[in-house]
């Protein structure tokens, strides 16, 4: 029997059989201005030649699965003949859900996975639990780890003591990649060019030019300077989807500091936007979200846990998800935690090679572990015992 591992994020599905490689695929549908009648599903995005004004149809709202029609379209596509060709009756699935997933959504998951798709067995879990499994597999001598899961909808801090999720220590900061992209869109639209309809393009701008500052107010000063002295400012060439397929930063030596470019490209000039946008992760109150930033929330989380574990948590902070990929994120977080943590405790923040697929890799390891059969619920089990057996076995 094969095991399919699916880290079902609100932005991307990380999917693959446990014996194969992972693929990262948009977990949504799209419509484009150029072919209005067609709805594109998941990686059919690649078929859209001109994705300007791309319209998103998302299955998730605030991180929770609410739009099942869309989710099933995406899953039909992923499981179907064009992609993974899943033989459901001979396949087990490991699938992730958000922390504290609502009970009605959990029940819908059971019904859809067992009754509609007819998977042979199912393991429903959180991305964090898969990451923890990954971490403890590679470092068997460690007792605890604290995961930072920064995704599309929000950022979670989840402490694990071995395989046990410490629920009382989970913290959620309502800042994720979606908010950052929308905020960047908003400030660019107000300051220089109307891009409110260009989520897809501006999301790429964000990933290409934003970074986490190590000296926020110093960078503010630098980014205010004129001419060459301003080492922060970048000119971003927007794609036109004919001759420029993908946006990019002008190389420093080609930048024109005063006056216009002779080339006809459309340019965005980004200065404080580059680091003020990811700064929301550290200071959500900068835009009026009255919550702690990630460093403060981590300390708050650890303080809520038994004192003898504190040292272990501060030493094993692991970054996962796409939204922690901004250059400088790890260094800044470690520096701030160093300042906030008790002086005698060492602090160490780890950035895995591939933070987006770190949970998926954990799922892969779990699928091949000897006691996998014991932690799943089989279709037979479900038919006999219903939701009850899933509540018993799964820790969501």
């Amino acid at each position: 029997m094969a095991t399919l591992v699916l880290d079902n994020g609100a932005y991307s599905a990380k999917i693959g059989f446990s014996q194969e490689k992972v693929r990262v695929i948009p977990n949504c549908q799209f419509r484009s201005k150029t072919s209005r009648l067609k709805t594109f599903t998941a990686n059919q995005l690649d078929e859209i030649k001109d994705p300007s004004g791309l319209f998103y149809i998302l299955p998730f709202q605030k991180g929770y699965l609410v739009n099942w029609d869309v989710q099933r379209k995406v899953w039909d596509h992923l499981f179907g003949k064009e992609m993974f060709k899943v033989d459901f009756t001979d396949t087990s699935v490991i699938i992730t859900e958000p922390y504290f997933n609502f009970s009605s959504i959990q029940e819908s998951m059971n019904e859809i996975l067992f009754e509609e798709y007819q998977f042979q067995s199912v393991l429903r879990t959180n991305a964090g639990s898969l990451s923890a499994h990954h971490f403890f597999s590679s470092r068997p001598s460690e007792l605890c780890c604290l995961l930072v899961d920064g995704g599309f909808s929000f950022t979670h801090i989840i402490p694990y003591c071995r395989s046990k999720k410490m629920k009382e220590g989970i913290r959620r900061v309502n800042v994720g990649g979606k908010l950052l992209t929308n905020h960047l869109k908003e400030i660019i639209s107000y300051r220089q060019l109307h891009v409110m309809d260009e989520t897809h393009v501006i999301n790429q701008v964000k990933e290409d030019v934003c970074y986490v500052s190590q000296q926020f107010f110093k960078d503010m000063e630098i980014s205010q300077m004129k001419g060459e002295e301003n080492t922060v400012v970048r000119d971003y060439v927007l794609p036109d989807f004919s001759s420029i397929k993908k946006g990019f930063c002008k190389p420093r030596e080609e930048m024109v500091f005063s006056g216009k470019y002779k080339t006809g490209e459309q340019i965005l000039r980004l200065a404080n936007e580059r680091f003020a946008v990811p700064e929301m992760l550290f200071h959500p109150s900068d835009i009026g979200i009255q919550e702690m930033g990630i460093p403060e929330a981590i300390v708050h989380s650890i303080q809520s846990l038994p004192e003898e574990m504190h040292a272990h948590f501060f030493q094993n902070i692991v970054l996962t998800g796409g939204n922690i990929l901004f250059p400088g994120f790890r260094e800044r977080l470690e520096a701030e935690l160093r300042a906030l943590a008790p002086a005698h405790l060492p602090v160490s923040v780890l950035l895995p090679d591939n933070p987006i697929c770190y949970p998926w890799e954990g799922g892969k390891l779990l699928a091949d572990s000897p006691d996998y059969e014991e932690i799943v619920v089989t279709r037979e089990d479900f038919e006999e015992n219903g939701h009850f057996i899933c509540e018993e076995k799964f820790d969501i």
Binding site: L58, F102, R172, N174, R191, G288, E291
Partner: protein, 157 residues
């Protein structure tokens, strides 16, 4: 300092302006934050097609299901209702506020204990001044002017 000198004239001008009360300012902030949760700002290209001619028919919502692969009939149809609820409804139905164990609501990070940092709502640089009309922040008379001409009272509430 220059700004301070001018301030008496400005106060006079301000007193003739409408001043937004605290409740309105809060509403404006939550509307801004809600906007940051939006999936799209433009209309759905499908719904913004030019009006169809007399014979043209647009596919309706239910017709976007592909008819050729008929889904196995399951309990699915009975609980269709549940598949139509939005986040707010689902959250309310969970009745979390009177739960003792950790849950979605209790997990939200508390307000920060750090002092708030203030930035110019026009240019994004650190700001030292507050617009007396709407409570927005600005850093210079140039940005104040832009603010008044663009967003200050013009943002529909």
């Amino acid at each position: 300092m220059v700004l301070e000198k001018k301030s008496s004239a400005r106060v006079e001008a301000d007193s003739r302006r409408r001043v937004l009360d605290e409740a309105t300012r809060q509403r404006r902030l939550s509307r801004q934050l809600e906007a940051l949760e939006k999936d799209n700002f433009q209309d759905d290209p499908l719904s913004s097609l030019p009006p169809p001619g007399p014979t043209a028919r647009l596919p309706t919502f239910s017709e976007t299901e592909e008819p050729e692969k008929k889904k196995r009939k399951t309990r699915g149809d009975h609980f269709k209702q549940r598949f139509r609820k939005n986040f707010t409804t689902l959250l309310e139905e969970e009745n979390l506020s009177d739960r003792a164990e950790p849950n979605y609501l209790s997990a939200e990070a508390l307000p920060s204990s750090l002092p708030p940092r203030l930035f110019c709502c026009v240019c994004g640089f650190p700001s030292h001044y507050t617009c007396t009309t709407c409570g927005g922040r600005y850093c210079s008379s140039k940005c104040l002017l832009t603010h008044r001409e663009t967003r200050c009272l013009k943002w529909t509430l």
